[in-house]
Symmetry: C2
Subunit: 195 residues, 2 copies
DNA sequence: CTAATGACAGATTTCAATATCTGTCATTCA
DNA sequence: TGAATGACAGATATTGAAATCTGTCATTAG
């Protein structure tokens, strides 16, 4: 079905996301994706060199949706850097938590890729760290933060809050202490950043 | 062999550790342990109710060796709290890193238990957090640290440094950036604690 | 001439039969 | 009498044969 429309990378990505959502990362084969599109699996390979590349592309698209939302906070130079940092960290935690809850199968795919140290995940992390760096640098410029090197501080903040965004900890995000722990972490880190 | 000596829990733990070291956590059955001791596996069950209890006991013994070494640092009230905290965190990182490198099979066992949220691991974490709390409280008493609640701050510090002691991250401990990342994390957290 | 196909080899996964293990307990041994 | 045994049922792991999948490519279709 739908063989009337041209087969684009975008359509394949949509179908893959759907198959992944339904079957999870373990099942969800290239053949399944092709079946869902009503084409032969050879056609899928015309657009993605390997199954790994396809999974990575789907995950990248999915991760980019998070980055974009946070980018708005990071880039809003009109606001107080401290409030922006708090909002950004809270936004990241909330987004990951929601993704883990709403799209467990896609999230599982992302967790697998994160464990495999795949390029798309590394890029996502770099992107987030750059956003953080911007906030820290703005804070330093405004005189409210101290940092010898905003990139180093941003990296430290990102890693120190790993428990609240690293998929390895997803199982702990629903525990009742999670929010208090998050608040304590943010308070401590902000004290460390203040000029 | 060695059937002459009495079978004690201690001897079973030693044999289990040896079997675990040799075979890893996947293999390493109760039957193997019994074989290594030259007794029937029923005898092992006289000392440990389940296989899980045996694994946990072995891991506990192994974890306790770490706690004891660090306890010396935490309890040394004569030293500057900031230096003690730095040494304690560095000691924990070094110890975990060495355990992961020297005893990969035992470490894998510990990682599995950590993932399963087992009691012995929770106790180990509580113990470490208490040591940290002592250092923070000493620092507050000496006027060099600020904290509304040393237990909360200690917990935050412990979680924020998870990347450097949580077995989930063991794969990253040998990367060249690890030491710089650790230093940045400790610096930031200490700034956050200072009065 | 480009997009799509489907047959193919080798790799991976599935599945069911088989073997091993866990945990119990009536019995044996010292 | 208390420690150790070994046979046992049910659960789990291993194995190897069959099925499916990945990635390629010569061929077909438009």
């Amino acid at each position: 079905m739908a063989a009337t429309e041209t087969l684009t990378a975008e359509r394949i990505l949509e179908a893959t996301e759907e198959v992944l959502r339904r079957h999870g990362p373990a099942k969800a084969t290239v053949v399944d994706v092709a079946r869902a599109l009503g084409v032969s699996h050879g056609s899928v390979y015309r657009h993605f060199r390997t199954k790994a590349a396809l999974r990575e592309a789907v995950t990248k698209r999915w991760l980019d949706r998070t980055s974009e939302a946070l980018d708005g906070i990071a880039g809003d130079g009109s606001r107080d850097p401290e409030a922006r940092l708090r909002d950004w960290l809270a936004g990241l935690f909330t987004a990951k938590r929601r993704k883990a809850g709403d799209d467990p199968e896609l999230f599982a795919t992302y967790s697998v890729l994160a464990g495999e140290q795949v390029g798309a995940v590394a890029e996502h992390i770099d992107e987030l760290t750059e956003q953080l760096t911007r906030i820290v640098a703005d804070g330093v410029a405004a005189g409210v933060f101290h940092s010898d090197d905003p990139a180093v501080s941003a990296r430290a903040v990102f890693q120190a809050t790993g428990r609240f965004h690293d998929p390895a900890y997803a199982g702990e995000w629903d525990r009742p202490e999670a929010d208090a722990d998050f608040a304590a972490a943010v308070d401590l880190l902000l004290r460390g950043l203040r000029a």
